[in-house]
């Protein structure tokens, strides 16, 4: 009798235990979530050869469970011919330490960078950020390339087909006078002529104001031995104007404001003014400014030359400057040409 009761008790307890133990099995396990509204914020990526093109924050995960896995698939040209070249690894310059803006030489900046082999079209597998690394057109012809991106997490996968990489001709510097699709110089009034971004208090000998449209700027690459930048000024007859004309320029403390470094950054290194004072040359990094390609459009250097003269009893400060960036390595000369000769001397 007693044995019986114990058996019954045991059975009761066991069934209770079993019941309690299997609650969890009836529940759905937590799954990754993949939103059906997740998408690429843009589907055409316009990039230029010869520079790094970064496309950040292009994917809207719509609160899908992280981490997401991104995979670039079937790159092709003109939407039919496979173009495996896009996935070919090239040497890229990446950062191991951050750029502060307080570096004192090109070498110090370069020491923060390392060379990494990455595919030309580099998709970040974690967040979908896209980078097109600098290659020249001999390696990769410009044109329209297509590729698909497969996004997956544990909830499943989604394919975003037919994303387009619109790879265009190189733009060695900004602002650039040539159309990067056709290669033809743009119309004069649509960027075909580079004008200064700042000009003020420039007057001709008759006292008429010289405006931005009276000045042309030329970017001239003079060699490839080093990365340098030279400024020159010429008058309408292409006769050189010595830079000593800019008499109140503080040559020893020239900075431009770097938005992404959050501070004023020294304008190049190793300033060199030749004896004839006809130009000024700096050693620069490539690209210039340093973060010009990482934050395209937001990082431009601005150089402003100023001079002072007395005009009819008033002292006026004339200023001329340009906001620009340089992407192609080499020895670059920026020439300011006044199409109307300004008066630099006192009245």
């Amino acid at each position: 009798m007693k044995k019986n009761s114990i058996t019954i008790q045991l059975m009761a307890w066991c069934s209770l235990g079993l019941l309690a133990g299997c609650y969890k099995d009836t529940l759905p396990v937590e799954k990754d979530y993949m939103s059906k509204d997740m998408n690429f914020k843009k589907e055409t990526f316009v990039a230029n050869l010869g520079r790094m093109n970064v496309f950040a924050d292009i994917f809207n995960a719509d609160y899908s469970t992280q981490p997401l896995q991104f995979e670039l698939q079937s790159p092709r040209i003109d939407n039919k011919t496979p173009a495996p070249i896009l996935l070919e690894a090239v040497d890229t310059r990446q950062w191991k330490d951050y750029y502060t803006g307080t570096e004192t030489s090109v070498a110090e900046i370069e020491a923060k960078r390392i060379t990494v082999r990455r595919p030309i079209l580099d998709l970040n597998s974690q967040n979908g950020q896209l980078v097109v690394w600098p290659v020249d057109s001999t390696k990769l012809p410009y044109g329209k390339y297509f590729f698909d991106v497969k996004v997956n997490n544990k909830a499943g996968e989604r394919l975003f087909p037919g994303l387009m990489l619109d790879l265009r001709r190189p733009r060695p510097y900004e602002p650039y006078e040539y159309d990067d699709v056709t290669g033809i110089r743009k119309a004069d009034n649509a960027g075909g002529i580079i004008r200064p971004s700042t000009i003020s208090n420039h007057r001709d000998p008759q006292g008429r104001e010289i405006k931005a449209e009276n000045v042309q700027i030329y970017f001239v690459k003079t060699g490839a031995a080093a990365n340098t930048l030279t400024f020159k000024f010429v008058d309408k007859d292409s006769v050189g104007i010595p830079i000593s004309t800019f008499n109140i320029q503080r040559w020893d403390s020239l900075y431009y404001y770097s938005k992404m470094a959050g501070r004023n950054v020294r304008f190049g290194f190793n300033r060199n003014i030749p004896a004839d004072s006809m130009s000024v040359t700096y050693d620069i990094t490539n690209p210039f400014p340093v973060l010009a390609e990482a934050f395209a459009g937001d990082e431009l250097a601005e150089y402003i030359f100023s001079y002072s003269r007395v005009s009819y009893g008033y002292r006026v400060v004339g200023r001329i400057g340009l906001k620009f960036s340089i992407h192609e390595p080499g020895e670059w000369t920026v020439v300011f040409r006044y199409m109307i000769n300004p008066k630099f001397s006192d009245d």
Binding site: K2, T26, L27, Y33, A61
Partner: protein, 1070 residues
């Protein structure tokens, strides 16, 4: 039975008395040794009552020697004595009836041993000795599976309650005031169904008086409380009982001799320990150090310092103070609680009247709660077939809210200002303080509840019952904010709400026992059928006026600036709320029936069914159904258990049922029309485009299994009840956003589901039980429940649903399938960067991890919190870097009660605990955030307010590289705060474990026994007691009290602290 006793008593006194002896004696309580009046004395052989005891418990009867006498009284064990001598003194022991107790389930009395559902019992005795503003405070930790958090210390307010986990998904509000829709159970007071909330919702912005029925009910008047937890027990209460049912029975008269009992106490409410602050020069030094050392630049710092006159002008008497603002807001109060009860009668007619008064002044000045109540009950049984009982309960609750506020944000934490400012004096006043002292916010609630119950036995076993009850509330709220404390604009606000509920229940019950003498020997059937009709009405009106003429003219009330739009001064920013937010009538009709069968009270089967229809439910589903079944096996009664002497009883229960909860109402099912702007000079009336009506809304349902085991060993020395349950609430309604092509903003849809499962255990142990009644006794009761809530489905097959909480809190919530139903969606903080080189560098772009996606130089650096960059893009952003973390629901709650008694002393220590709950210390966050404007007296920002600098030495903040243990970033950050907001609220830095162990109550009782003065004053029992309530909270939480947080676990800086109270009182019976 009582009637018989009375009749026999009459007969005995006149009948032959020649062979009899006169027996005298006294019947006393075994524990307290006080005489028990009204004890029936029954001649066992003749089966007739022969006497009852008098007021002092004495009796005197004439009876033949050798006969058996049975002494019987409600609440005590029967005692049989053979007449052998002339004086027989009898001690009756309090009955520990266990399973024989009568429980009223579905409005029908049943013995507990035939109940198949899961229920818990609280005796009224456990609720004495502490004068509390709300009965709910006493129920915490008393019942396994019932989670009560008293999240405000404001007198008269309610906390939050849920039985067996939350059963709601809809969230509204923001930040500290975000709240989850209510999971409140149904309250049944003396067979009258009552809205638990009393029309209050948990929202901050609720307009009413916020006094619920539990705040008005005096604990002294409570006989017992029964809590029904599973579907079977709750099924007969219908859809309103889907979250569980709390049945409260008040005391009844049962003594032939009138008893006057009184319980009076004085209690002191003491504010908790105030926070240490930096005052005077210490505050000034802090502010100067922060401004000069941590501004954007030295120049900027000097400018800020120059402009902050209250810091720089340190020799000015106005700015040269060290005022303790906290001390000016809090007070210690002396209060009284008085209860007087008169009861008496016999089985034919008995009556009770209970008068209660409590004055309960809060620890914040100008707040408090006074309540008055009268409960009168009359039960009549003119003949054996007819029973009539009626009750009238009237209560008046008077609540002062002082400076206003809702249920959580009604404290004073937002009003403490800089210590440099002068305190109030004869010449100076201070608006924030004046607001607390002089603003008026009077909330009055009048409640009248009455019922009439007629019960007629048509023929043996078949009873016809009809009950009609009416529960009526009037709430008023009168606010007046003085101009001085309110930007020189007065505010007049008036609220009137009327609620009534008429309830009629008519039913038939048939009770058949094949063996009437002993139900344990035959078949027993109880069949019952009833219908219930219910009419509820609710009407609320609000009038508000700003910028009145003076502080002394409180009017004109009823004038609504809305109708005078030409007057911009009255309602410039359209802030006034005027009109009638609620006006509705609700009709419900229910049919219910149940069959309970048992064989020898050993095998029990219960089947029940109830369907509820109401006037506001969706057109396509008028009726919601609640079927349930239960089985019980009292295995202790089996023959093979008989020789297990140590086992008192044992039973195994199982139940299954579905409860439906209608969610449709006029707004979400039928839609509302609105007057839009004029079109072509015609008033345009069209649908309101906020919520699209959904006529297909169905009731929310919950399906619950419960398996329980009740066992008692060694004559009650060890008793336990174990329950395990699995509850799936499905068809849950959620507000889903709609695409704008529909024209509407959102729709309410069925489809959510939550599973709650858990284990509940309640144990009673008597480790030391002296056989002598006045020996040392130790009773330990403990209960606890562990549960898990899991979200198993969301409407429309969604997997995840984010609740977007906008500015200024940004504390988003996530509802994700497979997780706990409500989780925080925050940045995960993993320590603090010790040096700039620890900040990750984007190898592609050559910059550091930064705040936001915009191209700005807001890089993280040493001293900043390490927020996990979930998607690895070196940009911190809400969209991609928030993580689902935490659970605001506790994982386990319980209670622990120790009672020691020795001779005339009894000591009770009651504790409760809450384990594992993630709470957000928003109070700390806003305190630190407010430090970031050291040049301001008042922080002007999202969660702004005056700045009072707490002792920062107590804050573990980052000072320099290498402070690995630092919990918070540098409290001196001024400029840095504008850059990266290190003290932002939407991060896990402020998420803490809210586990706590609380010593709720320590009570020491002394019973006066057999003192001469008691006899002279005709005092039957006299008891003195002293109680400390809210003794201590033990917790690792860095804030003041982990319980004083909102239901979603947010600690409001403006919370009302829980006061500790000390009580001295006595209770006496005459």
């Amino acid at each position: 039975m009582k009637l018989c006793i009375a009749l026999m008593l009459f007969a005995c006194s006149t009948a032959y008395a020649q062979q009899k002896v006169l027996v005298k004696g006294k019947v006393t309580d075994a524990a307290s040794h006080t005489g028990i009046p009204g004890v029936s004395i029954v001649d066992v052989a003749a089966k007739k009552g022969i006497a009852v005891t008098d007021a002092a418990g004495n009796y005197s009867i004439a009876i033949e020697s050798g006969k058996l006498l049975l002494f019987r009284f409600i609440g005590y064990e029967d005692k049989t004595v053979r007449v052998s001598k002339q004086e027989i003194n009898v001690q009756l022991a309090t009955s520990e009836r266990g399973l024989k107790e009568t429980v009223i389930v579905g409005y029908q009395p049943r013995t507990k041993e035939t109940m198949t559902g899961a229920s818990s019992h609280i005796s009224g005795k456990e609720l004495q000795n502490v004068p509390v503003a709300n009965l709910e405070q006493l129920l915490q930790g008393k019942v396994a599976g019932m989670n009560i958090q008293n999240n405000t210390g404001a007198p008269g307010f309610g906390g939050t309650i849920s039985i067996r986990g939350i059963s709601q998904l809809n969230i509204s509000g923001s930040g500290d005031q975000a709240f989850l829709a209510s999971s409140n159970p149904l309250l049944v007071i003396d067979n009258v169904p009552v809205d638990y909330d009393g029309g209050i919702d948990q929202s901050m912005l609720q307009p009413g008086a916020a006094t619920g029925p539990l705040a008005l009910l005096p604990p002294e008047d409570i006989e017992s409380i029964e809590i029904f937890k599973d579907a079977q027990a709750a099924s007969l209460y219908g859809s309103r009982g889907a979250n569980g049912v709390i049945v409260i029975t008040t005391r009844r008269g049962n003594s032939a001799v009138p008893i006057i009992s009184t319980n009076n106490s004085l209690f002191v409410n003491v504010p908790p320990q105030l926070r240490a602050v930096w005052g005077g020069n210490k505050e000034r030094e802090y502010r100067i150090a922060a401004i000069l050392g941590y501004s954007q630049s030295e120049r900027e710092g000097r400018r800020e310092l120059d402009e902050a006159q209250f810091i720089s002008d340190s020799l000015n008497g106005f700015y040269n103070n060290s005022t303790d603002w906290q001390g000016l807001f809090y007070q210690t109060t002396l209060n009284t609680n008085n209860n007087l009860q008169i009861s008496g009668g016999n089985a034919k007619m008995n009556y009770k009247a209970n008068l209660a008064y409590q004055m309960n002044q809060g620890v914040i000045k100008n707040t408090g709660f006074n309540k008055y109540s009268l409960n009168m009950q009359l039960n009549m049984q003119p003949n054996t077939r007819l029973r009539v009982s009626g009750q009238l309960f009237g209560a008046y609750g008077q609540k002062q809210r002082g400076n206003g506020g809702g249920i959580t944000g009604n404290g004073a934490g937002n009003a403490f200002s800089s210590s440099l400012l002068p305190g109030p004096s004869h010449f100076l006043e201070f608006p924030e303080l004046r607001a607390y002292l002089e603003n008026v916010d009077d909330n009055n609630t009048v409640n009248i509840r009455s019922y009439l119950n007629v019960d007629y036995e048509l023929f043996r076993g078949l009873r016809l019952t009809t009950t009609t009850s009416y529960d009526y509330y009037t709430d008023t709220r009168d606010r007046f904010n003085r101009g001085f404390s309110n930007n020189n604009q007065t505010l007049l606000y008036g609220f009137v709400g009327r609620r009534g509920e008429l309830n009629t229940r008519n039913g038939l019950a048939y009770n058949f026992n094949s063996n009437r003498e002993n139900t344990e020997k035959g078949h027993n059937v109880l069949v019952s059928f009833f219908t219930e009709a219910n009419i509820m009405e609710n009407e609320q009106h609000i009038r508000e006026m700003r910028n009145g003429p003076s502080d002394f003219y409180w009017g004109p009330r009823g004038y609504s600036p809305r109708f005078y739009p030409g007057n911009p001064w009255n309602d410039a920013s359209n802030k006034n709320t005027n009109g009638t937010p609620v006006s509705r009538v609700y009709h419900a009709l229910s049919y219910a029936g149940f069959v309970s069968y048992n064989y020898k009270t050993k095998y029990v089967l219960d089947l029940s069914y109830r369907s509820d229809g109401n006037s506001s439910s969706g057109l396509s589903s008028r009726y919601s159904i609640n079927p349930a079944m239960g089985v019980r096996w009292n295995f202790g009664k089996e023959r093979f258990m008989e020789n297990l002497n140590f086992l008192d009883y044992g039973s195994l229960r199982g139940s299954f049922g579905i409860n439906s909860r209608p969610v449709a109402n006029q707004v979400n099912a039928l839609g509302i029309y609105q007057i839009h702007a004029d079109y072509n000079n015609q008033t345009a009336i069209g649908p309101e485009f906020k919520l699209m009506p959904n006529p297909y809304l169905e009731s929310e349902k919950s399906r619950q299994f419960d398996v329980g085991l009740d066992m008692s060993f060694f004559k009650g020395r060890f008793t336990f009840t174990y329950d395990t349950y699995y509850k799936r609430t499905y068809n849950m309604v959620m507000t889903m956003p709609l695409t704008d092509v529909t024209g509407y903003t959102s729709i309410e849809k069925n489809g959510g589901a939550i599973v709650n499962y858990g284990h509940e255990l309640a144990i009673t142990v008597r480790p030391i039980a002296s056989t002598k009644p006045d020996g040392f006794q130790w009773t330990l009761t403990a209960n606890g429940s562990v549960w898990r809530n899991t979200l198993t489905a969301l409407p429309g097959g969604l997997e995840s649903f984010r609740y977007d909480d906008g500015a200024p809190y940004y504390q988003d919530l996530a509802r994700k399938v497979g997780r706990n139903p409500i989780a925080n969606f925050l940045f995960k903080t993993e320590g603090i960067y010790q040096s700039d080189s620890e900040v990750p560098v984007d190898p592609v772009r050559g910059v550091r991890y930064r705040n936001g996606k915009g191209n700005t130089a807001q890089y993280f650096m040493a001293g900043d919190p390490v927020w996990v960059d979930v998607n690895g893009d070196y940009m911190l952003d809400d969209d991609e870097d928030n993580m689902i973390v935490g659970n605001p629901e506790p994982r386990a709650v319980g209670g622990l009660s120790n009672t020691f008694s020795y001779k005339n002393f009894a000591l009770n220590v009651f504790c409760s605990f809450t384990i594992k709950r993630d709470i957000l210390n928003n109070a700390m966050a806003s305190r630190l955030l407010r430090l970031t404007q050291p040049y301001n007296i008042k922080y002007d920002g999202g969660i702004g307010g005056t700045v009072n600098i707490y002792d920062l030495d107590l804050v573990n903040y980052w000072k320099q590289g290498g402070d690995l243990g630092a919990q918070y970033p540098n409290v001196y950050y001024v400029y840095r705060n504008g850059q990266i907001q290190p003290f932002r609220l939407d991060q896990t830095m402020f998420m803490e474990d809210g586990s706590y162990f609380k010593i709720n109550q320590v009570t020491l009782n002394y019973n006066f026994r057999n003192f001469g003065f008691m006899k002279r004053a005709r005092i039957r029992t006299l008891r003195m007691y002293t109680t400390v309530f809210n003794v201590a909270v033990l917790s690792k939480y860095s804030g003041p009290n982990p319980e004083m947080v909102s239901q979603l676990g947010r600690d409001d800086i403006n919370g009302y602290p829980a006061s500790r109270s000390f009580t001295v009182g006595f209770s006496a019976e005459f």
